[in-house]
């Protein structure tokens, strides 16, 4: 077999700018996920900034998951300042996060990855796909409305602050969304069987059953993880947020503006997967019985190890986020004027991890007495998945080396898309 060179200059239907370069011969495959998205140096210009600037600035890392950045930020800072937040604030943050999961997952499931299963190049190109595009847009709109009700707007919301919120929504306004949320929840339950019935291509994932990879997420004793928990994996990892930050190692490659992550244990380096698949595999027991039944009826078996089936995990999490939103709104108590607790700034260092739509988002800050940034490290989910994506592409190309370049390119694009990479996020990383 002659050596083939595969080049994808600019991936479509993913967030941000990246391509793929691969050299394929009978006995060897070399593959690079090339992120050419321009870096923005957030960790550098955050130095000297106030704690509120952290919340407002880090949101700007990602237009799709700003709440995730705000949540990892406020929790880190609250840990340094020694703040215990009110139970009502805790619930409202969970509602805020659920809204973002709905918005972000609906975008990916229906507008980015979904068209792949219908041979379409976009959500609006193919008439047969329009009903699904419309369902996705309706879900996304509802997620956005809920985000805007809490944060005043869906992209870069302005209400989050250390200790709580600038202002909390009125119960009557949230309640007004209930009937729409309940309808959407019903639809999202049936969408689980739609996702489970999509034509998955065994060639793309043929070896994932044999590839015994590690997946990692937060785990909380009594709720599906969002803002709190320990870091666990299918390989027995069980760490606090602080100790987990100590075993992840980032490294830079010549061809990518994204730093890659590995975990290092006993001198061994392993790539790992974060995101909806990891979460559902490690926490499915905490899903409501209605959703578990919908999964069973659709033949969804846990663990799912085929990354292309991330679309099923996202669809399950959309249903969960609707369910959680309805539950929280029904039990919502207005915080009144105490939307945020009083606190004093103090110096310190803390790590916090929350579950962004795409997986664990790690923030680490050292603040001075006045609460200004001395140092910070931000590790987004896509940077953690980068090495795993390359492994996945490598496995695929090795096993399908004889196929045409065109077919391999399509295959690579579909594999990458199924990770829901967020490239804009991924180019902000850590000091080593």
């Amino acid at each position: 077999m002659e050596k083939k060179t595969l080049r994808i200059d600019y991936l479509s239907r993913v967030e941000g700018e990246a391509g793929v370069y691969a050299e394929i011969s009978a006995d060897r495959v070399k593959v690079e996920l090339r992120v050419f998205e321009a870096p923005r140096f957030f960790e550098s210009f955050l130095r000297g900034r106030s704690h509120q600037d952290i919340v407002d600035f880090t949101a700007r890392i990602c237009g799709i998951c700003p709440v995730a950045y705000q949540m990892s930020a406020v929790h880190s800072i609250e840990k340094i300042f020694g703040i215990e937040i009110d139970g009502r604030i805790r619930q409202l943050r969970r509602l805020f996060y659920a809204a973002e999961w709905i918005e972000s997952h609906s975008l990916h499931v229906y507008l980015l990855q979904g068209p792949d299963f219908y041979g379409a190049g976009s959500a609006w190109e193919n008439r047969a796909y329009l009903p699904f595009a419309k369902r996705g847009l309706a879900f996304k709109k509802l997620g956005n409305s809920l985000m805007a009700m809490i944060g005043a707007r869906p992209v870069h919301p302005v209400s989050a602050r250390v200790g709580g919120f600038y202002k909390t929504p009125r119960k009557k306004h949230l309640t007004a969304l209930l009937s729409e949320l309940e309808r959407a929840y019903e639809q999202s339950l049936s969408a689980i069987s739609w996702a489970a019935g999509l034509p998955f291509n065994s060639a793309l994932s043929g070896d994932s059953a044999a590839w015994d990879f590690e997946y990692i997420s937060l785990r909380h004793p009594n709720e599906y993880p969002m803002n709190e928990g320990r870091v666990v994996s299918n390989k027995g990892l069980d760490e606090s947020m602080d100790s987990f930050a100590g075993i992840t190692k980032e490294y830079q490659t010549e061809y990518s503006n994204t730093l890659h992550s590995n975990i290092q244990r006993d001198g061994e380096k392993t790539s790992y997967l974060v995101g909806p698949l990891a979460r559902i595999n490690l926490n499915s027991g905490l899903l409501p019985s209605e959703i578990i039944n919908a999964m069973k009826e659709s033949g969804v078996a846990i663990p799912i190890k085929n990354v292309e089936m991330g679309i099923i995990a996202r669809s399950v999490e959309i249903a969960y986020a609707f369910h959680e939103a309805i539950r929280i709104i029904k039990g919502y108590e207005e915080a009144g004027p105490d939307a945020a607790c009083d606190f004093k700034t103090r110096s310190g260092t803390a790590t916090w991890i929350t579950e962004a739509p795409r997986g664990m988002l790690i923030h680490h800050y050292t603040l001075d007495d006045g609460g200004h940034v001395e140092n910070c490290v931000i590790i987004p989910p896509t940077a953690q998945n980068a090495a795993h994506i390359e492994r996945s592409l490598h496995n695929y190309l090795r096993r399908n080396a004889e196929k045409s370049l065109e077919s391999l390119e399509k295959g690579c694009e579909k594999i990458i898309r199924s990770y829901d990479p967020c490239i804009s996020c991924s180019v902000h990383l850590v000091k080593m």
């Binding site: 700018e17 870096p39 957030f42 407002d56 005043a152 000091k431």
Partner: protein, 253 residues
């Protein structure tokens, strides 16, 4: 009649303004009836070929290759508009324009030499002619809808250029600056967001950039009387629209 063609392009940014395009939700499908979306990498697979009637640009110019790319897009396009603080004012990443760039790179990347980035992040208008600039971090979806339809039907967009204060007064919100003595940027910031922060009892932090002719010195003087240092006042302006606020301030003085 042939539908006009639109291309949507991303430069250095967070994607939030392109997302605002998709957040038009009900309108996005109608928009695809009004114009042929000939290029939108985030939404569809089509490659960029030929000419466009309208190029919509998100993101600032911050690498050598982006300078070439924006020139190429301009040459292909009858009209070119920028959406958001990055494309219109360099974005939050323009904070590096005032810093030691080599040190900045070293903080983030262990091997800074691999990184292709210019020492300054600049607005698109510094590189090519821009027909219309839509401000905001992020842009407001209704304003986006107004601008897109205006260009597609050939009229001037009706976007007000007055300060946030005007809009805030119109809504009857208690003044954050006067009654709470908080450092609100409303008097010097463009309207357009819908007065989000003051309606949450929060001081405006300038997402929509400076209004034309903003009197920044006077406002900074007021903040200093409230007890903020000159350095703190500068940092309030050095955010998503740092480049534009600094420009407005130096051109005035």
């Amino acid at each position: 009649m042939k539908k006009p063609t639109t291309g949507i392009f991303k430069f250095t940014s967070c994607d939030g303004c392109q997302l605002s395009m998709l957040n038009l939700e009900d309108d996005i499908l109608r928009l695809t009836e009004l114009t042929e979306i000939a290029y939108f990498r985030e939404g569809e697979d089509n490659p960029l070929v030929g000419h466009l009637d309208l190029a919509v640009i998100e993101g600032s110019i911050s690498t050598e290759s982006q300078k070439k790319k924006i020139t190429d897009i301009r040459e292909r396009s009858r009209h070119l508009i920028t959406i958001g603080a990055c494309a219109t004012a360099g974005g939050v990443q323009a904070l590096r324009n005032w810093a030691d760039f080599d040190a900045f790179k070293k903080i983030v990347y262990p091997k800074p030499d691999y990184i292709d980035a210019l020492p300054a992040s600049t607005p698109v208008s510094e590189h090519v002619h821009v027909d219309y600039e839509l401000w905001g971090c992020p842009i407001d979806t209704l304003e986006l809808s107004e601008v897109l339809t205006s260009f597609l039907i050939g009229k001037r967009p009706g976007i007000p250029a007055h300060s946030l204060c005007m809009e805030c007064k119109g809504k009857g919100i208690a003044c954050v600056l006067v009654s709470r003595e908080e450092p609100c940027l409303g008097p010097v910031t463009r309207s357009g967001c819908g007065v989000l922060c003051p309606s949450l009892n929060r001081a405006c932090y300038g997402c929509f950039g400076p209004m034309e002719g903003a009197n920044i010195e006077t406002l900074s003087g007021i903040f200093e009387r409230f007890g903020y240092s000159a350095d703190e006042c500068r940092m309030m302006l050095d955010k998503m629209n740092t480049y534009a606020f600094r420009k407005e301030r130096t051109e005035k003085s």
